[in-house]
Symmetry: C2
Subunit: 343 residues, 2 copies
């Protein structure tokens, strides 16, 4: 079912970014600019606190407007990245005004009428825009699936065990500031101050991201199973995930062990990944070639390395995947969805 709004999109390309002053909002601007998005007017929307801030975009200044119910008149695509509460409150206003919403929060990801899309994996889900909302998946899930989806097509994914190494930018600007301040304190000898995280993140790792569910997993950890199932169309997917914050500024890494229906051989898997759009192999550990967070920072591709047979899982492969979670894990993926809507 194609919504009425879709046809308009062929001619009109006015974009609004909700949450424009946040880390992901600003990265969305950068992606629109760098990729030459066919853009009419760009409106930057944020809370009253950010109203009046100016951002450079294609050589001109754009002033941030306060987000209200009436902000979406004339907007074709609204990119939301201001938290679930804002999305739940304002996305319906955007849709009512005729915009398509691409939402980076978790507000609508579980809604069966809202497609959850990684364009390289399931762009076909964009055919059904009944609610006028498309959800952008969780960042760690996107990075992991960028490698898992092509392997799934080749061998049939059954389940995965994963441990993440997540950057502080996943907590937004406050996460970056906290690591920066604590790092400085370790050098100057000042006292460490913890504000955002319950314990220091500098010289430490924190094995808890977000609220805990009754089953002992965090919501962040459960997203791999729930969002992965929906994106891959695999209702029975099982995932055992441990999400860990590490003192890295940007780019999430994931150590993955995956079990498949059919026996995977490593050479075929390597070819499958080398040919997958948005993925690049960096896999020659004997010559110290492997991906690290610094390699993907500000880059579009997710990098895969350490590919090998898994010693435990049936028909298993183990690998390491890294991606810039502000970019492919959030802003770039949303802009790629917008590009697909124009096709």
């Amino acid at each position: 079912m194609v919504r009425a709004g879709m046809s308009k999109l062929n001619n009109m390309k006015n974009i609004a970014i909700v949450g424009a002053s946040g880390a992901v909002g600003r990265e969305m601007m950068l992606c629109l600019e760098q990729r030459g998005f066919p853009l009419g007017r760009l409106r930057l929307l944020a809370s009253a606190r950010s109203k009046g801030r100016e951002f450079d975009f294609r050589g001109e200044k754009i002033v941030v407007e306060e987000l209200t119910e009436d902000s979406f008149s004339g907007v074709d695509i609204a990119l939301f990245s201001a938290g679930g509460g804002i999305s739940r409150e304002f996305a319906p206003h955007a849709v009512r005004a005729g915009a398509l919403v691409i939402d980076n929060s978790s507000a609508f990801r579980g809604d069966p009428d809202v497609p959850l899309v990684v364009p390289e994996i399931n762009a076909d889900a964009l055919q059904d825009l009944a609610r006028g909302i498309i959800a952008n998946p969780n960042c760690t899930t996107i990075v992991t699936l960028m490698a898992l989806a092509p392997l799934h097509r080749a061998f049939g994914l059954r389940s995965l065990v994963a441990a993440s190494y997540q950057a502080v930018s996943g907590s937004g600007a406050r996460g970056i500031a906290e690591l920066k301040d604590q790092t400085k304190a370790t050098v100057t000898g000042e006292d460490l101050r913890t504000d955002l995280y319950p314990v220091p993140i500098v010289s430490n790792v924190i094995p808890l991201i977000g609220p805990v569910e009754d089953n002992g997993y965090t919501q962040e950890e459960m997203k791999m199973e729930r969002e992965g199932s929906k994106i891959l169309g695999l209702p029975g997917l099982r995932a055992s995930v441990t999400c860990v914050r590490v003192p890295v500024y940007r780019s999430h890494s994931v150590a993955v062990s995956a079990s498949f229906e059919r026996e995977p051989d490593v050479e075929t898997a390597r070819k499958v990944l080398a040919d997958a759009p948005g993925v690049a192999l960096k896999d020659d550990p004997a010559n110290a070639i492997f991906p690290t967070p610094l390699d993907t920072t500000n880059g579009d591709d997710c990098l895969v390395g350490r590919l090998r047979r898994d010693h435990v899982l049936d028909n298993g492969l183990a690998f390491w995947v890294v991606g810039d979670q502000v970019r492919k894990g959030a802003a770039l993926n949303a802009v790629q969805i917008a590009e697909h809507l124009l096709k």
Copy 2:
């Protein structure tokens, strides 16, 4: 078979530390002092480069002597922590001089005539000292097994999938210096210099520790399977491990998913771990209670948290374990072995 030397130990307690000026060697001194080890003479042995250095021990200065073939006269127990080459060359001299060797390198771990011991797990292996050498296991393996061994006794371990978060002190003093220097450079704006690691470790994680084997796993990763099998007496143990260096000074963390013969329930597992010697539970994630590397630094216990059913493995449990790898992962474990030899 009990070696002749053993009986001597009841009366004589002269100790030598080989590699005394290294991080583990110095921690061994600290453990001997803190635990009131019944010690006669302590000899500190190291390379010619460290000869003449002085260390405080129980209020007196001990001068480092150069390690030679003749260094072990009158020594009852020699604690080696100076790398595999030194152990292979000098441990036989120590044994010939009548000493029992406790070796922290990997030189003898695979030798079927050399017990590989974590005292809380398999102290009974110390009955057989035919070669006069006891091997101290790999640090990540010790930390992981401290939690896995009691669970194995309760439910019967079959296999594990693990991802590690290993501190730079695992690379010795040079690892600590590299992270310190790079951290300072990020604050002062100087250029980052990489010396020990192939890429920066500050604001980064490195998914490769040590040489790579033909199967794509590193030696460090394979130690979990090989040493774990020997320590637990489980020849068929399978382990799929990804070892990753993180910008943490001290204490290794491991995210573990383990599969058991019998169905484990989480409450029983929690009781088993709470009662296990050398293990402490820190497991109430809903109230932000979980173990981090900073919690175990300079501590004896390995801390376990995030205990939950594993969603993928048969009869599976997932958990997070952290331990000071200089201490329980190396020096403390060696001194505990020495204490057992005195019994």
